[in-house]
Amino acid sequence: MEHPGLLYVAATLLPLASFLILLIWGGLRNFARRNKATSPALDGVYQILGGDAITRTPAYIATAAIAGAFVLCLTGFILHAQDEHTHGAQPAAHAHDHKHDHDAAHADGKWAAHFEWIRLGSRENDSRGALALDLGFKIDHLATIMFLMVTFIATLIHIFSIGYMSDELQEKVEDHHVHTAHGHLERRGRFGRFFMYLSLFCFSMLNLILADNLFQVFISWELVGICSYLLIGFYYERTSASNAANKAFITNRVGDAGFVVGLLIIWTYVGTFNFDEIFARLRSPLHDSHGAVPLGGAFVRANPGAAEPDGRILKLAVPKPGEEAGSEVVLFPVDATEGHFHGVGHGRKFLRSEVRLSPDLDLDGHGHIPYWLLTVAGLGIFLGCVGKSAQFPLQVWLPDAMEGPTPVSALIHAATMVAAGVYLVGRAFPMFTREALLVIAYTGAITLFVAATIAIVMTDIKKVLAYSTVSQLGYMMLALGVGGWAAGLFHLLTHAFFKALLFLGSGSVIYGCHHEQEMTKMGGLLKKMPITGLTMLAGVLAIAGTPLFTGWYSKDAILVAAYGFTSVHGEHMLLFLAPLVTAGITTFYMFRMWFLTFTGEPRDAHVYEHAHETPWLMTVPLILLAVCSIGVAWGWPVWDAEASAMEKHVHHAQHHAVYTEFGTIVDKDFHEGALPEESIRQAGQAGHTLVGLLALFSAGMGFLFAFAVYKLKTLDPAEAKEQFAGAHDFLAHKWYFDELYSAMLVRPALAVSGWCRDFDRVVIDGFANGFGRFWVWVSKWDGLFDNGVIDGLANLLATMAYGVAGWFRSLQTGFLRSYVLFLVLAAIGLFVLLKYLVSVAVAG
């Protein structure tokens, strides 16, 4: 196949097509239904479009689209693997020779291509002199595997939704959460609309993975946000749902604002949004025309020297080894290795070297960006990821987002949307400075711990899962932050499977219990819902890190990465301890959930009696996901935590996505020769067994505790709750984040907006009033009239004109004597004016 990359483009566009079909169909049908009484033609249209019957056709269209996308992705995956094979490049060789290979693959548009969406400026007919916003696609290992994961899980969720959303197929749906004057709200079913939104969401997410540039990512980013808004607010009659939808979108927008700042800096200083071009500009090439370059792959930091007299060339000096690193990061030409090119520092081993920099925005020349600004750019983009991946401190929206239908929670909040943030950190990894990465790591560490503690006290089954999601995403961020790129993304993939499983399982429970979500009303459901219970158990085991389940492999990798990092940097010990402890907490709250739901005595007879196993449309996806949660990460030998085939694939992807192992936060001694990444990896390898055992121990403790409390009942949770009432309240109120934000951000914003409104009303219109009063005062000063002027106070200019007119009127006193006086004054005025004019004329 000549352009296999287009398979992915097609896979992305399929859900969009589905969305458009459903949108136009639904919109026309709705319009026709509303107006059919007035026009027979519209009635005919309405009958053609399906009439009153509510069908499952929208679901079939959407599911077919996403399933088709999955097939395309699978084909693409196989083709990509073959392509890899025929090119015969070793992973290691790729790392060093990546660029040429990459370009060769890109040049013919095979796996990557782009076109200019907005192109500005045709200066000197030079394509580089102009600014262009591109749309394009870039398929590498990371993208292929992400595509596969997203389409697979999305397909299963679509199938599950056909069952779960069947309530919406009725002509009249009763919403028990909404009370009106006539009892519960009755509304028309919205089956088609749900699948329309799902399709748009899938498109946005796939487009995000497809993108070869930050700008396209940003577009998808916003689209994902609006889709989540629409889906969370699906039951928009419920105030809680619309509030949650608003909260989700606005919180995401806070992150997006940071993202925009990052984009601004990249755009202004680096001049391109294309990932490969950004990396090529920020990181030194590995080779120049004379061989390997000393600082290859690293940020080259230099100090600005004096500018050349013409002001357009700036000399930068790279400090010698041992000196403090420079304040500027050198930007390299995008196609540095084409033609004759001298790398920085070449020929003089780590000696001071000079590069000539032009301040022009020129992708074919050098440039420079302040190091701190690059850090800010990284943090800005990371803030976007924080919003989307619900990291501390923007995690508040995710639990509220459980207001959406459960399949939505599964799709958005487990496998895809929140994954987008982690994915982007992975994708943009080479542009993060070590300070930025450290922030990412600590953000992850705080998030994973905070979320896990809150999950302990939640009683809503979906909220427990929501917080576990936040916590697991924290793991991924932590891993990325400490340089465990592969570990973080590996966990992203495995987590997608078992979290989708858990959410769909909880959806099955909720469906079986007639939309009851409180675990305090469940219990003993295993007998009634065996398939759901057992598949969920698989998910719980996986997330707890039970050996041989997928979660074990990935969590192990994360802990090893963290351990390796902290063993080199002892001062960041917390980055290892937090995930280790939280592993135990995770096990505890997951088993708490499972025990509360499926074992013990039924706590609510009514719920229990009506509980039933869900239809096959919902259980089949569960079984499939359970199988994946157990075995998708297996390798040979199965019992070796490091032998996972998927992890190998991700590791392989690392060489392509970030094309060398730069970018860990320990490049501060980059002059010294010995690669610190190497020492971290070695430390990790050395402690691997120890870390594995520690993790197992932590998880085991969590399990035993949960087992003791909720199965054996040796401890009464209610008693513990009373004993630690303060702590419980603190956790149950989610660390008071909502209250904090309300007091610190929302209310001040509303207050400021009130000020602005009042400023218009009081100050600006008040100025008008004051101005008017001034003129009234002027007219009153004469003391000869008073009526009439006061009436026009309301309006600035009207009053002014009225005042002036009134003043003139007042001159018409009717008193002979005042006229005389005015005459005299006028005469004086004229004399003085003439005198002045004459003097001017004489002088001039």
Binding site: L821, A827, I828, F831, V832
Partner: protein, 201 residues
């Protein structure tokens, strides 16, 4: 100039008398006394006219103004002056305003007088050139050469001075006379006795 300069002495005497009388007209609250001060002022002016050789004008001033107009005024005063209306006080504020305005005005006038430059300068007409009533009358009638050529002040172009016109003031004089007649008839008509509007009350 010889000392004592008769012209200067007379000027100062008459000017001061005139000015003081005028000021008294303003300051006096009693309208009858005002009229008397006005009489002095007008007489002083007439004296000044004689001083600058305008005999006829001075005489006319005495006859028409002092003899006619002022008597008219005094009659008016007497016709309307009844008890409380003789003096009508104006407020101090108005006085202040008026005086300020007046002083300003005077300042402006004096300033412009002092800065004025007049073509030909300030040479007084010698007594020999003084116009007698006869000359004036002739020029009014336009019958002698005494009528001066109409000149345009400040125009030095000699070509335009060639166009001399002998100008007669007879027609304006007649117009003024008719005007006076009309006015007097009108005044008589206006002032004719009518029943008072408020008489019944």
């Amino acid at each position: 100039m010889k000392f004592p300069d008769l012209h200067a002495t007379l000027f100062w005497v008459l000017a001061i008398a005139t000015a003081l009388s005028a000021i008294s007209v303003v300051l006096t609250q009693n309208i009858v006394r005002s009229a008397v001060w006005l009489l002095f002022s007008l007489c002083g002016t007439a004296g000044l006219f004689f001083l600058v050789g305008a005999d006829f004008v001075g005489a006319t001033q005495l006859i028409v103004y002092v003899g006619g107009t002022l008597v008219l005024v005094v009659f008016g005063v007497m016709l309307t002056a009844q008890g409380p209306f003789i003096s009508m006080k104006t407020s101090a504020v108005e006085w202040a305003f008026s005086v300020v305005a007046g002083v300003l005005f005077l300042g402006v006038l004096v300033a412009s007088i002092s800065q004025g430059t007049w073509v030909g300068g300030f040479v007084a007409v010698s007594p020999a050139d003084s116009t007698s009533a006869v000359t004036l009358g002739e020029s009014l009638l336009g019958v002698t050469d005494a009528t001066p050529p109409a000149k345009l002040l400040g125009n030095d172009n000699p070509d335009q001075l060639l166009e001399r016109t002998r100008m007669s003031y007879l027609l304006p004089f007649e117009i003024v006379s008719v005007h006076l007649l009309v006015v007097l008839i009108g005044a008589a008509y206006l002032a004719r006795a009518k029943r008072r509007r408020g008489a019944a009350a």
